[in-house]
């Protein structure tokens, strides 16, 4: 089994190299003439006056949390999906109960307006 993953490991390594090489090449080939105006962050015609990293709407955190929960649900669905024919009706029913419990949560989110984007 592991020998199948060896090319994957190698591929990830080569993909990293493929990313680094053009950057290094670009730095070597391209000019390097910095000046203050050129290096200042883009702003519509005036000076940048504060740190750009600001607090933002808590809604983004909610999206991230809900994403984790649903991602876990998907992780549970994956092994189930590929053995459904083997585990038969019992496995089918146990997953339906699992999904039903989570659909309750989904409906709750919906009703509470957590999925609304204002």
């Amino acid at each position: 089994m592991l020998e199948n993953y060896f090319p994957v490991l190698l591929f990830i390594g080569i993909a990293l190299v493929m990313g680094v090489v053009p950057l290094v090449l670009g730095m070597l080939v391209g000019p390097h003439r910095p000046d203050e105006k050129k290096l200042s962050p883009y702003e519509c015609g005036f000076e940048a006056f504060e740190d750009a990293r600001m607090k933002f709407d808590v809604r983004f955190y909610l999206v991230a949390i809900l994403f984790i929960l649903f991602d876990l649900e998907i992780a549970f669905l994956f092994p189930w999906a590929i053995v459904l024919k083997e585990i038969g009706t019992f496995g089918f029913v146990s997953m339906m109960i699992f999904l039903a419990i989570l659909v309750v949560g989904f409906v709750y989110e919906w009703m509470k307006g957590a999925l609304e984007w204002e």
Binding site: I65, L69, D71, I87, G91, E118
Partner: protein, 215 residues
């Protein structure tokens, strides 16, 4: 020493180094990124144990989802590092106690007979599917813990909403269902206006036309 052992020591070294940097890095963002590295390399270790589903699920769930949330939180909250460091000595005894407790537990578990007996890992054929093996067990033999996992996820969902959902009143929202349900008759009325008029009736027609648009 074969190639697998070399890989194991490589992954293990990276994991330990990254984990150390997580607690020593000054910039919280760097700490999060080192945590990502630690997860990726421990996924590599799991893969060496032929636990392919767990290894990839670790990357999928922890690196792909949980750490994204961590990044959000760390990047976008102004964390005052000085203030965080203040309580260091005060909390050190408690932290040390917890660490010792975890250490004892791990030794205890890893030293157990059932686990040490299985240390000579079984080699599987190329078509062995770790995921299928898991699937056969989770949804049948371990169905009870599986459903409890569903309840836990439900609790987490409700808790997340209770903690973070704040309604803002000053925003305008569009209700797509209402928009879709709009019929032509609600908005438009066809008025038949004679195309050619006699000169003397112009004023009359204008008056009636005006009446229509007003309502």
């Amino acid at each position: 020493m074969n190639f697998e052992t070399v890989l194991f020591y490589l992954f293990a070294a990276v994991t330990v180094f990254a984990a150390l940097r997580v607690i020593t890095a000054r910039n919280p963002l760097h700490a999060v990124l080192f945590l990502v590295l630690a997860f990726v390399s421990s996924a590599g270790i799991w893969m060496l144990l032929e636990a392919e589903f767990l290894a990839i699920a670790l990357v999928l769930v922890y690196v792909g989802a949980v750490m994204v949330l961590f990044l959000f939180v760390v990047m976008m909250l102004d964390i005052n590092i000085e203030q965080l460091r203040k309580g260091f000595w005060q909390w050190l005894p408690l932290g040390g106690l917890l660490a010792a407790l975890i250490g004892v537990q791990m030794v205890w578990v890893l030293g157990a007979d059932e686990i040490s007996a299985g240390t000579t890992a079984v080699k599987h054929a190329a078509d062995y599917s770790n995921t299928k093996e898991l699937g056969r067990l989770i949804y049948t033999d371990y169905v009870y813990p599986f459903e409890i996992a569903a309840v836990l996820l439900l609790v987490a969902m409700v808790a997340a909403i209770a903690l973070t959902l704040r309604k803002r009143r000053d925003t305008k929202r569009q209700d797509v269902n209402k928009q879709v349900k709009v019929r032509r008759e609600d908005r438009v009325r066809i008025v038949s206006v004679p195309s050619a008029r006699q000169v003397e009736s112009v004023q009359e027609a204008a008056a009636s036309n005006h009446g229509h648009t007003a309502d």
